[in-house]
Symmetry: C2
Subunit: 343 residues, 2 copies
């Protein structure tokens, strides 16, 4: 059985394009909120295969998406490396920050990685057996820069001034942290493919705050190494990179990392993406997640514009950022109908 999502990542132009949504398993679904309440905290939720498998499957039942993405979190990596991660309700993740080589040395190590992540691998394995045969299974990880922002700042940030300054003032420490994350992320992704993931997406959600030079050093360069490491083991698995907010630097990112697909955020001009990026790789995106909340004619018009502009080349329909909790499920239904030409 051919999976349309994988065909698109091989460079085929499909009409209608394959469709999935970032964070499609999430709080906007009542059936998700019900299950979420049964886990004592968010990381436990990710580490419980029964729950993680179930919530991964939920949106497929409603919407029949062309891909399912493993339900997990990018912060399982620092957690697996030995840095304590807590999700405080309403405040997002909190970590005891690591700001120096000595702290890195004292706290982090790769030895227990696979053991710690075993429940995630179990989830991937079970999903590979349980998803519909036309649906592709996406494994994922956070990119080193984005994961490092949480590890060094200890929580989300508006400006990422502290970590960007540390990257300038202590490049030896920072390179070491990134190197460790390249290693851990590669091992993690490789094992996900062993367990049945058919595609990998790497989320560099905070790439957009980096200066041009830092973007090359801390986003492109680590991602290039991850792609090489994964391909050395799994030559055929398609890899999507999502350096959110990269702007004109998307072009260098695609050229240098040699990803099979690139996630585009809602700021990317569609004609520019079509002319500059789509000849190089399969593009994925770009509907504004807040327009999916608003719905109505403006949403319909924008979906049409995206399909018209990007639909004539290799393309996967998605949002420009994850679904937000206040999204009405019926707007997702409308989106599916429009993309599939059924509305």
């Amino acid at each position: 059985m051919t999976k349309r999502f994988l065909q698109a990542l091989k460079g085929e132009t499909l009409n209608p394009p394959p469709l999935w949504l970032m964070r499609q398993a999430g709080r906007y679904l009542p059936e998700y909120r019900e299950i979420r309440a049964s886990a004592k905290n968010f990381l436990d939720f990710c580490y419980t295969p029964d729950l993680a498998v179930e919530v991964t499957l939920q949106p497929l039942r409603r919407y029949g998406f062309d891909a399912a993405i493993l339900f997990s979190d990018i912060l399982v990596i620092p957690d697996a490396l030995g840095q304590k991660v807590e999700f405080v309700s309403g405040q997002g993740p909190q970590l005891a920050p690591i700001k120096s080589e000595a702290e890195l040395e004292a706290i982090l190590n790769l030895d227990g990685l696979h053991e710690h992540l075993k429940p995630v691998y179990t989830t991937v394995h079970r999903l590979s057996k349980e998803i519909p045969e036309t649906t592709a299974l996406i494994g994922f990880a956070g990119a080193p820069w984005t994961v490092a922002t949480y590890m060094v700042e200890g929580k989300g940030s508006k400006t990422y001034e502290e970590i960007r300054s540390i990257a300038y003032s202590d490049p030896v420490f920072f390179q070491r942290l990134i190197d460790m994350l390249v290693e851990a992320t590669s091992l993690y992704l490789i094992e996900q493919v062993h367990q049945g993931a058919e595609c990998l997406q790497v989320f560099d959600s905070w790439a957009g705050v980096l200066s041009e030079r830092q973007f090359h050093t801390w986003s492109i360069e680590p991602m290039t190494r991850i792609v090489e490491k994964v391909r050395a083991v799994h030559a055929e698995v398609p890899i999507i990179g999502f350096p959110r907010g990269a702007g004109p630097l998307y072009e260098a990112y695609v050229r240098e990392t040699k990803v099979d697909g690139v996630g585009l955020d809602h700021t990317v001009p569609l004609t520019w993406a079509r002319d500059v990026l789509q000849p190089l790789t399969t593009v994925q995106g770009t509907l504004d997640n807040l327009l999916l909340v608003a719905g109505g004619e403006a949403m319909d018009a924008e979906i049409k514009r995206i399909l018209e502009t990007l639909g004539s080349g290799p393309f996967i329909f998605n949002l420009g950022h994850g679904i937000v909790p206040q999204t009405p499920p019926e707007h997702v239904e409308r989106l599916c109908a429009l993309v599939r030409g059924e509305a």
Copy 2:
């Protein structure tokens, strides 16, 4: 006496390029901190010509920049329109948010604008007499979108989800707010030129969060109208737009607003700026403000790269964002020497 800064905005290529730094009057200077302590709050500081003139002049004495920018704040506009603005120490600005047409109607009006802003005009007038004869005087305002983020959300935000959603769900209210800001901003800028400002810069600091369509509607379109309104009165005054984080949309911004100069943030790839934007307008930027904090060889190398890449066309050296308080003044000295070829 020809002012080099104004020559560059007419499209001349100067070697060395003119130089000034966003927020050059600021907390990184001990002489600023001393004066700041004498005002009871930040808005009072902006509204006291003796203090505002003095801090505007301070960085000129130290560094002899080619331009001085009026010391003020973008939130004087909502304040002048009748929305209470407070600066809470360590937390930034706080406003009683306006989220509907009824609230706009009840709170905002243009009638007292010039009266309220008189102290700012006095500052501009005095500066035009007091700055060195080779220094150009820049007046400024916030762009409607960026000012609206504070007016609607009530404070700074990380994601601007609320205002972006309101712009989708209540476009009638939001258009009315933007229209009022276009009007107020134009009146404010026109009067600054009457009082002696020789150039205007419009800061759209949060333009980078807008979707492509929203960027056209809420950043480009209002700015185009402001440029037209100002030029209808002052045909010759050069105008710089700074839609920070606009990415590839910088190109449409420059083409459509027809600004004389464009401020580039630190994420903009230099060769792209040289090839795509510099043929259209004078470019200004782009040193990472955190690299100015870090200093050292990395800073020296980046300054050299910027000069080499953008120095062969119309260019004004600046940062990609305002100076931060932790900047060592001696790094600014080093920057000046390097840009001027004196190091």
